[in-house]
Symmetry: C2
Subunit: 130 residues, 2 copies
DNA sequence: CTGCATCCCGGCAGATACTG
DNA sequence: CAGTATCTGCCGGGATGCAG
């Protein structure tokens, strides 16, 4: 989180930037997409193949599976291994960094499950107010 | 995280769904957008007004600030208070739920800052490989 | 089996102008 | 001050067809 303290400001509140070099944005942008978290949690259970992942992550298209896996690989969360058999076999597995990332994600998942009902209730009340 | 264990499957790997009723998706979808996290962290430092937030969160447009604040309010993370002065004054502050959410987010921020260099390096290597 | 290439459409988000 | 309204361009992502 890139921050600055404004000198001379009595409140001393921080200023927040949304740059490509902001650590939190790097992570949140990636895991915030529609499929990354589900794939990371799927791969926590062990390496898996392309079509196996496609079957386990319900609703993901071939295109988005490829793209998301490429992104996760680029960030360093996932390893891609090609076995030159016929037909070809490709296995994806978490890297050490990927397994490491899953820890704080678990915290968020746990939080989400705990407070899910509160959030749903809040939405209902908000929508009823107009 | 909504999961199922497939009976008869030797690997017993879970199946992941991406439904509107999935707790983790509810949270990740919201905080995963471009501005939510920055706004939550800005509001951790105390209540703040619309234009003050606009100045502190660099780069956010008026439209997106309004929209993101409305979304955060709907989820129950933010309270909106209107003071009927002239000109009108509107203050935003975190709810108990919002302050609570910030805790696991801190974990993620901390992780992101710690591993930022690894991620940047991974990207460079990936891009050099083609 | 594991993708890539292409077409295409709906929705996100910036810019701008207006209002209580 | 704190928004809403409208217009518009862009691109995320589905569907489909092809390839190593």
């Amino acid at each position: 989180m890139k921050t600055k303290v404004q000198s001379g400001d009595k409140s001393e509140k921080r200023v927040f930037h949304n740059t490509d070099d902001c650590p939190i944005r790097n992570v949140v942008t990636q895991i915030g997409d529609k499929w990354s978290v589900l794939l990371l949690f799927a791969l926590v259970e062990g390496p898996d193949r392309f079509n196996a992942l496609k079957a386990r992550v319900v609703g993901i298209s071939q295109r988005m599976l490829t793209q998301t896996l490429r992104d996760l690989e680029r960030e360093g969360y996932v390893n891609r291994t090609v076995y030159p058999e016929v037909p070809v076999k490709v296995e994806y597995e978490l890297t050490a960094l990927g397994r490491n990332l899953v820890q704080p994600l678990y915290q968020l998942v746990s939080w989400a499950e705990t407070h899910h009902d509160e959030i749903k209730q809040s939405r209902i009340e908000y929508d009823n107010r107009g």
